[in-house]
């Protein structure tokens, strides 16, 4: 790590820096660092943190001792009757759904964001088009949840007031209950996520696209490269680092995604995700042991990205 040296004349006393740091460090210690360790500790204890988790084991049932909360968090949703039953229950569990969210939402937001950024690059109303796509970032996930719950709304036999089902009815199809049909409903929620986050990816990717020097692109065109080749062989390699940053950021955002599921289905009808499940265990079932165990599993999924973040930061610092 190449710390930039501070000139000697600016070193004013050994304690001075800590006056500036103290409020931030104290509050971060109490609200982030201490709770992190406490969460780890609680995840090995029973439902209210008074005894070891192994005390909650029931005779004759599988038990992992102090890891009992983890056994519950990892296996409670699964049906281990057969391989097929296991796979089905896994794919509809909070873990399977979180995987669906990660794959489809990250792909959707990054691809659509990049597509839109590239298409509007240089058109007359570029700024306007971009702020329209970006607008959902300003409204809450709760608001977006209501907007889309209304889009998906499943009316009565006589009338469909939800736009999507009205279109399906108009072209002769049977209305679909988007929110309650397992498998389909999680994808319907992912669409909402994509609708919200595409603007974020688009903005970052757009500024990266603009940083590609025009001369390189012009030179390639003069040499007879097709637009397709210009994009994949020249632009993409240059913006690749930004694409990776956007992808990792999106994975983190998706893992923490709670509001959309909470507002639109409450995690019912097999739409649960890890972030929502932690809330359910902790604040609906009031089981701190299980709730914190789910939280730890969530963090373990995020740790690789914490590492990537720090590594990227160090690389940036060295370039300064």
């Amino acid at each position: 790590m190449a710390a930039r040296p501070v000139p000697r004349i600016m070193q004013q006393g050994k304690l001075a820096p800590f006056y500036y740091l103290a409020p931030a460090l104290i509050i971060m210690f109490f609200f982030i660092v201490y709770p992190m360790f406490n969460t780890v500790q609680l995840s090995f204890l029973n439902n209210n943190g008074t005894a070891s988790a192994s005390a909650t084991c029931v005779d004759g049932r599988p038990c992992w001792g102090v890891f009992e909360n983890y056994r519950y968090a990892l296996t409670a949703e699964f049906n281990s009757g057969s391989v097929k039953a296991f796979w089905n229950s896994f794919w509809l569990s909070s873990y399977g759904n979180t995987i669906k969210w990660i794959i489809f939402m990250v792909a959707g937001t990054v691809i659509l964001g990049l597509l839109f950024a590239k298409l509007v690059d240089g058109i007359k109303n570029e700024a306007l088009a971009k702020s329209i796509l970006f607008m959902p970032m300003a409204i809450s996930f709760v608001g977006a949840g209501v907007i889309w719950k209304f889009m998906y709304s499943y009316g009565t036999q006589q009338v469909q007031t939800g736009l999507l089902n009205a279109i399906i009815s108009a072209i002769g199809g049977r209305p679909i209950s988007f929110m309650t049909q397992p498998v389909l409903n999680t994808y319907a929620l992912v669409v909402v996520g994509i609708w919200i986050w595409t603007g974020f990816c688009m903005t970052i990717l757009s500024s990266s696209l603009k940083s590609v020097p025009d001369e390189i692109i012009e030179a390639a065109r003069v040499d007879g490269a097709t637009e397709w080749n210009v994009f994949w062989k020249i632009i993409m390699p240059i913006i690749m680092p930004t694409v990776i940053v956007v992808v990792t950021t999106m994975v983190i955002n998706v893992l923490k995604q709670f509001d959309i599921v909470y507002v639109m289905t409450g995690g019912n009808y097999n739409t649960d995700v890890i972030a929502n499940r932690m809330y359910t265990e902790m604040y609906i079932n009031f089981n701190t042991g299980r709730g914190t165990a789910v939280a730890i599993i969530l963090v373990i999924a995020i740790i690789p990205f914490i590492y990537l973040n720090i590594r990227r930061f160090i690389a940036q610092e060295e370039m300064r």
Binding site: M1, A3, V6, I9, M10, Q12, K14, A16, F18, Y20, L21, P23, A24, L25, I27, M28, F31, I32, G49, I123, S131, M135, A138, I139, S140, F141, V142, G145, V146, I147, F150, M151, V159, Q160, T161, G162, L163, W195, I204, E227, W228, I252, K256, F258, D259, Y262, V263, M264, A275, Y279, M282, Y283, T288, A295, I296, L298, I302, N309, I310, F313
Partner: protein
């Protein structure tokens, strides 16, 4: 397929069509919500928002069955003036209207040789008659949903109607105090402001101090501490909530503003410091050196030099934190709950308890979006800049 063919295919995709399609998909849902929130509740449940410009309910049925005798405006038969509210009040149910249509008037069947309309059609005609006579106006556009949402009215009519009739529900007083009804969005709006403003100012204040130390003061472990900070940026809320709500329960901070302010401050800190330090670090070094040479203390250099120069970064950070706190649901749900409902909490609660009360839900959702939209469109430049400076938050 050869490469040339693929290229030709992609060249043919009309780029404007794709752009337009995406913009439509991004605008239509919000637009539909806005239109719906402005329609009377009966219309919302009867037809989609895209029919708002269609002919009003029942007017077609009226023209088909009644207009030949009663006239287009309903006044042609003086003895049975259909614009007279007193007359229409006798037939304000489809079953009453149908009974009258089956009766004989002056020795003749009411409908003459025409077929008596069915129940659904009669109901539509009743709606039309009530509308033209003024018994129950059904305008295309109304603000009643917004009024009802603001005061937390949950009756079967509208707040204005009930108050005019003098029969309000128990929790409605029909005066300005209704704006503070705990079930309403008015109260929630105030609560949201009370949560958001301090939770935006506090982190900026602390982050400016810490960011300055990281950028321009020398101390041991500066880089290590900062690298840890970068890692802390992505720690999820869920990881820290349980212990803090346990501590809050002991301190009595659950359900208090102070508890939420502190939590948002602590959680917003890593990103805020990161942004401030990176911005302050790009200021020219000569500036600080000459200030020190002129005898300025680090404190003078901080608040006379660094802070004024960092205003753009402070603006980005302010917008970020403001939107983050305003739009947050999880923290409000856990630490405030129903004792001090904020807007997001109130809406989430309405979704689960009201089911399909779309007139209230759409109006409430739109109310909650107003302030963020103003902030966003007014200060978009700073928002985007802050986002590009450090893409991770939350």
């Amino acid at each position: 397929m050869s490469r040339e063919k693929i290229n030709a295919f992609f060249a043919r995709i009309p780029r404007n069509f794709v752009i337009l399609l995406m913009i439509v998909i991004w605008v239509v849902p919000t637009f539909g919500l806005m239109i719906t929130s402005l329609r009377p509740v009966q219309s919302i449940n009867r037809s989609g928002w895209w029919t708002i410009l269609n002919a009003p309910t029942g007017s077609r049925e009226y023209a088909q069955n009644c207009a030949s005798c009663h006239g287009e405006d309903g006044k042609l038969i003086a003895a049975a003036d259909l614009t007279d509210p007193a007359l229409i009040k006798q037939f304000d149910r489809s079953i009453l209207l149908l009974a009258s249509l089956n009766k004989e008037y002056n020795g003749q069947p009411h409908m003459g040789t025409q077929v008596v309309p069915g129940a659904q059609m009669a109901a539509d005609i009743v709606v039309h008659l009530k509308n033209v006579s003024g018994v129950e106006k059904r305008p295309r556009v109304t603000f009643n949903n917004y009024v009802d949402a603001l005061v937390g009215y949950r009756g079967t009519r509208t707040y204005v109607d009930d108050c005019n009739a003098g029969t309000p529900p128990l929790d409605i007083n029909c005066n300005l105090s209704d704006l503070l009804n705990p079930r309403g969005m008015g109260r929630a709006f105030v609560n949201s402001l009370l949560v958001t403003i301090p939770a935006t100012i506090l982190p900026i204040l602390f982050a400016a101090l810490a960011g300055y130390a990281f950028a321009w003061l020398d101390f041991k472990g500066r880089m290590l501490l900062f690298a840890i900070l970068v890692g802390l940026q992505v720690v999820p809320l869920q990881m820290t909530m349980v212990p803090i709500s346990r501590v809050y329960a002991q301190l009595g901070l659950n359900g208090t503003f102070l508890g939420v302010w502190l939590f948002h401050t602590g959680f917003g800190m890593p990103y805020a410091i990161y942004l401030m330090r990176n911005f302050l670090g790009t200021l020219p070094r000569d500036l600080f050196e000459s200030a020190y040479l002129d005898g300025a203390s680090h404190w003078t250099a901080f608040y006379r030099l660094a802070i004024p120069l960092a205003l753009p970064a402070i603006a980005s950070l302010g917008i970020f934190q403001f939107l983050w706190v305003w739009n947050d649901l999880l923290v409000a749900l856990v630490f405030l709950g129903s004792t001090t409902p904020v807007m997001t909490y109130q809406i989430a609660n309405m979704v689960s308890s009201l089911g399909a009360g779309w007139h209230l839900l759409t109006a409430a959702a739109f109310l909650s979006m107003l302030l963020p939209m103003v902030v966003f469109f007014g200060l978009q430049r700073y928002f985007v800049r802050g986002m590009l400076a450090g893409a991770v938050k939350g």
